[in-house]
């Protein structure tokens, strides 16, 4: 079995499993005042410090959530409501069109129900938002911008965004910028403090932690209106009893992901490049999605663990079925509505022909990926593409 869908979820690290199982056996609500509560609180706060350090943030900037989707919703809706409350003119939301649905659908909802004017920032053919594009959008009327949101790196095609430059532009106009860094964390140097971002989303199960836990990194000067009201935990912006075992395990996984990142990115990037070569050799007309350049100190490039291809004349679903039958697990990278594959909004935003956009595959590598996985793809992809092409587009 070659599991090459780590961008969907990646196996938990043994250290995280250990931290989680240890915490599962002890009682304690981190809000309680007695000894059990104090112990739980200490665990949570140590985890917060660990995660803050891994992400270049202050501990108070870490707001635990139930995952990436909740953190994205809290950032986008919460900041919108807070900014609009402070100045009713601020109703314009700037978003990249290649965002994850957790952001895209949240901003869309603001447009439908909360009087927001949503403006999608044009991207280049790699799906990248350029700083001057953001500047032009803000400059059209700096007084009415509520917030901007641009992901750190794209989950489908792997393109890395110029986050620092975008944040600089936003800061010039005092516009809070949020970035979904779910895919970037563990693959790229992610330093919240240095980024200039107002808010940043990370998720546990994408870095070897558990499901159901994530965090919004939130600059101390920002007080988004809560999505969840209740006991006032997490700076009063995210109520709810903290999941101590998940928080502890997330911190362990996050720390290890940050510690190992540089070497990991190099190794996984090497395997990814072998995969790119293998696919191109077997299917010469395959089109690489996203920025072809590797991420580096001087280039934004693409995520080291991401390989994304479009196979002309093929249905992505057919390829998936054929590879699945060979024990290769990957993804079309596109969203599902009632299980029906739709052309990816990410690819469409990059200007690709909608028919072409149906034949995509995303291979995402991870910490358990081996050369044998790549060899399995190298062996299977040629016949699969040939067969899928003969089945055509239905």
């Amino acid at each position: 079995m070659a599991y090459l869908d780590h961008a969907a979820t990646t196996p938990m690290l043994p250290e995280a499993v250990e931290a989680m199982t240890t915490q599962l056996t002890v009682v304690g609500n981190a809000s309680s005042l007695h000894a059990a509560g104090r112990r739980a609180r200490r665990t949570v706060e140590e985890a917060r410090e660990t995660l803050a350090e891994a992400l270049g943030a202050r501990p108070s900037e870490v707001v635990f959530t139930s995952g990436g989707t909740e953190a994205d919703n809290l950032a986008v809706k919460g900041l919108y409501w807070a900014r609009r409350a402070a100045d009713p003119a601020r109703t314009r939301v700037l978003a990249s069109p290649v965002e994850h649905h957790a952001v895209l659908d949240a901003v869309h909802w603001l447009g439908e129900h909360e009087g927001a004017t949503v403006e999608y920032l044009p991207v280049d053919r790699y799906g990248r938002v350029h700083p001057e594009v953001l500047r032009a959008a803000i400059e059209r009327n700096p007084a009415d911008v509520a917030l901007a949101t641009v992901m750190w790196a794209n989950n489908e095609i792997g393109t890395v965004m110029p986050v620092r430059e975008l944040a600089d532009v936003a800061a010039e106009f005092d516009v809070p910028l949020h970035a979904d860094a779910v895919q970037a964390f563990g693959q790229l140097p992610v330093d919240f403090g240095a980024s200039g971002l107002a808010a940043m989303t990370v998720s546990g199960h994408k870095v070897g932690g558990p499901y159901g836990i994530g965090a919004l990194l939130l600059g101390r000067e920002y007080s988004p209106v809560p999505v969840l009201h209740g006991g006032g935990q997490e700076r009063h912006v995210r109520s709810g009893t903290l999941d101590v075992p998940a928080v502890a395990a997330f911190a362990v996984a996050g720390r290890i992901a940050a510690e190992r990142r540089e070497r990991y990115a190099q190794e996984i990037g090497g395997l990814r490049d072998e995969l790119l070569d293998a696919v191109r050799a077997a299917a010469p007309d395959a089109i690489l999605g996203g920025d072809p350049a590797p991420a580096g100190p001087d280039t934004l490039g693409r995520l080291p663990a991401n390989a994304h291809f479009t196979f002309p004349g093929c249905e992505g679903d057919s390829l998936l079925l054929l590879l699945d039958a060979q024990g290769i697990e990957c993804s079309t990278g596109s969203a599902c509505t009632a299980g029906v594959a739709q052309p990816s909004h990410v690819l469409l935003a990059t200007g690709i022909d909608p028919d072409l956009a149906r034949g995509t595959l995303r291979f995402s590598l991870g910490h358990t990926t081996t050369r044998a996985d790549i060899e399995a793809v190298a062996k299977a992809i040629g016949p699969a593409v040939e067969r899928a092409r003969s089945a055509g587009l239905s």
């Binding site: 679903d317 057919s318 998936l320 079925l321 054929l322 699945d324 039958a325 509505t337 009632a338 299980g339 029906v340 594959a341 067969r387 899928a388 003969s390 089945a391 055509g392 239905s394």
Partner: protein, 376 residues
């Protein structure tokens, strides 16, 4: 406890069409248990699948897709949703509307089997390396002494669905698998089997009617598509008895809902005898005038070799209809059928399926009928 299933003669790569209902789920499970390499597929046939509705029926809802996936997960087979909505709209829904507009009475299930399940779906399956498509239909495919594939009625006549499969040709049959066909069983027993297999669809209500008309209101659907077209209701002499709001709202043999003020001279009920889209009239008359002694049918499809010369068969004229003896002959591509005894309520557009014993010989679409008692 569990018996080890006998190894099949050949392990096939099977694509099981799973509607989300109990029959297709059990069919997929049986195919897998027989040792075949089974992949489940749910066909998304509606461009705008409805969200969760209470009492959702048919094959076009998100709930059905989820039910099918749930069953596939329990059976332990891969599962995909294929979007055939465009093909379905063109080949089934538009054909359905056009047939009604032309004054005929189509059967969309036959059309779907002919054009979607055993064409669009089968072709894609074969291209992807599958050997066969399996469905939950109650019918049997048997191989004769010469290796030819034959379609037969299900073992259980009460469950038999061979009528809606009468459009399958030899090639389609060669790749069709009906795992429920040899089951002599009641629906309750299929449900019990589903329950035993841990399939949650065991208790799901049966689907009814036409899957793309979710609320079952065919007349409303047609009115919406075709608009109002007022015309006359006349008797056999051409005398006007009333008006209608669209001839497509009537089916030959229909008695109810005619809303004719004037009673018949003999005081007997009147029935729809004829629908003429050309002058937009509906002709009504007495029951006896519905008797048909012969018909012609077009677009024949043979489940095997086409017969040569005249032959005697039994014919079925609608799903779950009775068999009736006929003589039939193919002349210049048109099937000429003479009934031994007159039959009632035969509508152009319906399929006539010919049987030789339990074997399905073929089918054709009824074009014209010849009345036993000539209409005035």
């Amino acid at each position: 406890m569990t018996e080890i299933p006998a190894a099949p003669q050949r392990r096939l790569r099977v694509l099981a069409a799973m509607s989300g209902g109990v029959d297709s789920a059990v069919a997929a499970a049986r195919a897998a248990e027989a040792g075949h390499d089974v992949t489940g597929v749910h066909l998304a046939l509606s461009a705008n699948p409805q969200s969760f509705r209470t009492g959702a029926r048919g094959c076009c809802t998100i709930e059905d897709s989820r039910d099918a996936r749930r069953a596939a997960d329990v059976i332990g087979i891969p599962f995909y949703v294929w979007d055939l909505a465009d093909r379905f709209r063109e080949d089934v829904v538009e054909d359905f509307v056009a047939e009604y507009e032309a004054g005929r009475t189509p059967n969309p299930c036959l059309r779907c089997n002919e054009k979607i399940k055993f064409a669009a779906l089968l072709d894609k399956a074969l291209a992807l390396g599958f050997d066969a498509v399996a469905t939950g239909h109650y019918a049997q495919v048997v191989t004769d002494a010469d290796g030819n594939r034959e379609l037969h009625r299900a073992s259980d006549m009460a469950k038999d669905q061979s009528y809606v499969l009468g459009v399958l040709d030899e090639r389609q049959l060669a790749h069709a698998l009906f795992p429920l066909g040899d089951t002599v069983t009641t629906k309750d027993e299929i449900r019990a089997e589903a329950e035993r297999r841990g399939l949650a669809v065991a208790k799901k209500p049966d689907s009814h009617d036409i899957c793309f008309i979710a609320d079952g209101d065919t007349q409303g659907f047609l009115a919406n598509r075709l608009g109002k077209a007022e015309g006359d209701i006349v008797d056999e002499s051409g005398a006007k008895l009333g008006t209608h709001e669209g001839a497509y709202g009537y089916t030959i043999g229909q008695r109810k809902g005619l809303r004719i003020g004037t009673p018949a001279p003999d005081g007997k009920p009147r029935y729809v005898l004829d629908i003429s889209p050309v002058n937009n009239t509906v002709t009504v008359g007495p029951l006896e005038a519905l008797d048909v002694s012969a018909l012609t049918a077009i677009k024949p499809r043979w489940c095997g070799t086409a017969p040569t010369g005249p032959g005697t068969y039994t014919a079925q004229l609608r799903a779950h209809g009775d068999e009736t003896p006929v003589r039939a002959e193919l002349v210049d591509g048109t099937l000429h059928v003479t009934f031994d005894e007159p039959v009632r309520g035969v509508a152009p557009g319906q399929a006539i399926v010919l049987y030789a014993g339990t074997r399905v010989v073929g089918s054709a679409t009824i074009a014209t009928t010849e009345r036993a008692t000539a209409a005035a």
